[in-house]
């Protein structure tokens, strides 16, 4: 055990080399398996060909267009969820009577797979962007709502009392004391919702749309443009990775002061 631990734990550079090496081997295996015919080409074209198609689709504007449509829907649905989730969540955390009123409904709807309401929304709103934005907002609102309610409810009462003693209005107390203190938990809810928003925009595009990446990969599969399908999946992996990385960076920056004060208070 100790020998293995030394072998791979020697340093971040060695670990990174192991990781990149494994990735390279897997990609080489993909290429070889397809070229040698171990896997039928119609199931798995060589990665080199997929990447060539990827470059073409990016250069001719197909990928940027579909990606833009998907991201725009995500942003609209996510924004709606943020407004409703943080607004109602703050009210629920700040006033127990409001929490008691809404919590049972939220607890019932939260574990529901949000994709199930897509057919109903198609009926009510058509297959346009309105339907997609509402599905995304419906799926994203619960983690934000419940995390905000818990975060605001968990703010130490002394903080609120102090603010009130200094004659802060309720609005100022919320803005200056309560919401900043609840921010780490709100951020955690937002991070969960980011992944949900991405998934729901893709699913809604798969079921009823004429653009967006979800539409693109499903139609590519149905018309047997298999290299294009894989190129789309590669793009989704890249975008998913970048979205997550960007969010973590933003979160770290927004919460830097928080970590600093929390660290100071423990020392």
């Amino acid at each position: 055990m100790s020998r293995a631990r030394q072998g791979a734990g020697a340093g971040p550079k060695v670990r990174a080399a192991y990781g990149i090496g494994t990735l390279a081997v897997l990609l080489a295996l993909w290429e070889a398996a397809s070229r040698a015919g171990w896997v039928p080409r119609r199931f798995l074209p060589p990665i080199s060909e997929v990447l060539v198609v990827f470059a073409r689709l990016w250069a001719d504007g197909a990928f940027p267009g579909h990606l833009g449509a998907t991201l725009l829907r995500m942003a609209a649905g996510g924004l709606l969820a943020v407004v409703v989730g943080i607004g109602l969540g703050t009210a629920m955390g700040y006033r127990r009577s409001i929490a008691e009123l809404f919590r049972p409904v939220a607890e019932f709807l939260r574990p529901m797979p949000p994709v199930a309401i897509i057919p109903a929304l198609i009926l009510l709103l058509g297959i346009g962007d309105g339907m997609k934005v509402v599905v995304i907002a419906f799926g994203c609102v619960w983690p934000i709502l419940l995390n905000t309610a818990d975060g605001v409810g968990g703010v130490h009462p002394i903080l609120v009392d102090v603010a009130r003693n200094f004659r802060f209005s309720h609005a100022a107390t919320l803005r200056k004391i309560v919401l900043p203190a609840a921010l780490p938990q709100i951020a955690a809810g937002l991070r969960v919702s980011l992944a949900i928003a991405f998934i729901l925009s893709l699913v809604s595009e798969m079921i009823g749309s004429t653009n967006g990446l979800g539409y693109f990969i499903l139609v590519a599969q149905r018309s047997f443009r298999i290299r294009e399908m894989y190129a789309g999946v590669v793009l989704l992996a890249v975008v998913g990775y970048l979205l997550n990385a960007c969010f973590l960076k933003l979160e770290a920056r927004a919460l830097a002061w928080h970590r600093a004060t929390a660290g100071a208070s423990t020392t």
Binding site: G9, T22, L109, P111, P113, A116, A120, M229
Partner: protein
Amino acid sequence: MGPGSRRMLRGLVPVAVLAAAWEAAPRAGLVDPAFLPPAGAVLGAWGDLAWSGELPRQVLVTARAWAQGFVLAAVLGIAGGLVMAFLPTARAMFSLVVELLRPMPSVAIIPIAILVLGLGDAMKVAVIAYAALWPILLNSLYGVDGVERRLHDVARTFHLGRWRTAWRILLPAASPLIATGLRVSSGIALILAVTAELVAGQSGLGSFILQAQLAIRVAEMYAGILTVAVLGFGLNLLLGAVEGRMLAWHRGATAKETA
């Protein structure tokens, strides 16, 4: 009446208001009943579908795919997480691949799964297992990582071997986090089951809902959606209860420590 039951009753108020609004709005013509039938009509359709055996049959199809995919993900996820936790070489090799694949939206593999496995149950199970894998794998890995230094020392003091340390000390200590991973994944598995059925299913609740919508059997469609909601709620309740019971010893042990 105690404060607890009064709180429960207050919680039921918005439910009752919503139900009443759902009943009244279509009847008053505020919404087109063709798009949103009154709550009573949906409940009636629900009863008919349950009695005829149609809805239970669809629930069973979805539940079976869910269970197979979830068990597959649990086995692979716990095994993979433990291997990565115990073997630093394996961890260095695969953490980059995991890091790259995990943020990819899981539904992206639905077209690949359809291509390779067709439209049947195998496709559903594969998609569910893939999506449910990640939280279980990472929670198993971090669960073992987070085991206190003290417990490692105890194992060494008692001269437990490597395997017995893993089995008797590390795994039980990591179990709360693994259980959390399982609970998160169970919900993801249900989402993917319904999604796969909506996009490409030949049977199951997702495809039932879509078929009902396409055939304009609107009350039946809402009955299907209601069933999905109840299923999600029940599953969450069930796994919370199982987790609570299975980890009762853990809470007891850690509580004693702090006392």
